[in-house]
Symmetry: C2
Amino acid sequence: MTTDTNWRSPCPISTSLEIFGDKWTLILLRDMFNGKTKYGEFLQSPERITTNILATRLATMTRHGIAQKQLYQSNPKRYEYILTDKGKGLHPILVSMCHWGNEHYPDTWIAPAHFMEKV
Amino acid sequence: MTTDTNWRSPCPISTSLEIFGDKWTLILLRDMFNGKTKYGEFLQSPERITTNILATRLATMTRHGIAQKQLYQSNPKRYEYILTDKGKGLHPILVSMCHWGNEHYPDTWIAPAHFMEKV
């Protein structure tokens, strides 16, 4: 994990957004909370992330210590991505987004209880 | 407010991100929670949003019913942007981001109590 000193401001909201303020990072975080760890698994999610965005986002998440890259096969080398404690700390944000989304967009999925309660 | 039927999926997290999954919308939301309503006020925030990004984000926030555009001067016409109840419903997300940011980036500002408790 590197500490980036080029933040736009010392505001914790702004700092957070520099790390995950995009349309995809929190989707990958959701997938990791749901037990996905591998490229192929992330690619199968209904939002259809492209391979290049996936690679970029996983690299950024690893660089900021939200996820950890782990070798799970050596020949050929294959990696999986596991949430760190720092990444797990973002769970309340996902829960709030589920509540807000469900309240204002009634056609959205209701997340299963085990997802909403997960730490 | 229009209902966009081109969401990537019915996931409430994905849906939320289509609305505010970028580096600026939640900064503007923070500013609105802090009482800012006008173009000139948003431009003065330390993150230095540009006028074209500001205009685009305010239009998107208005379109999705997070903020409401209101005439406050008629000649020449000048508008201000007020949080709606739907926008206020995003407050828990900002609070979680403050907690997470403060925990993992010790140099970030501690938000004042009135911001953290605001509904």
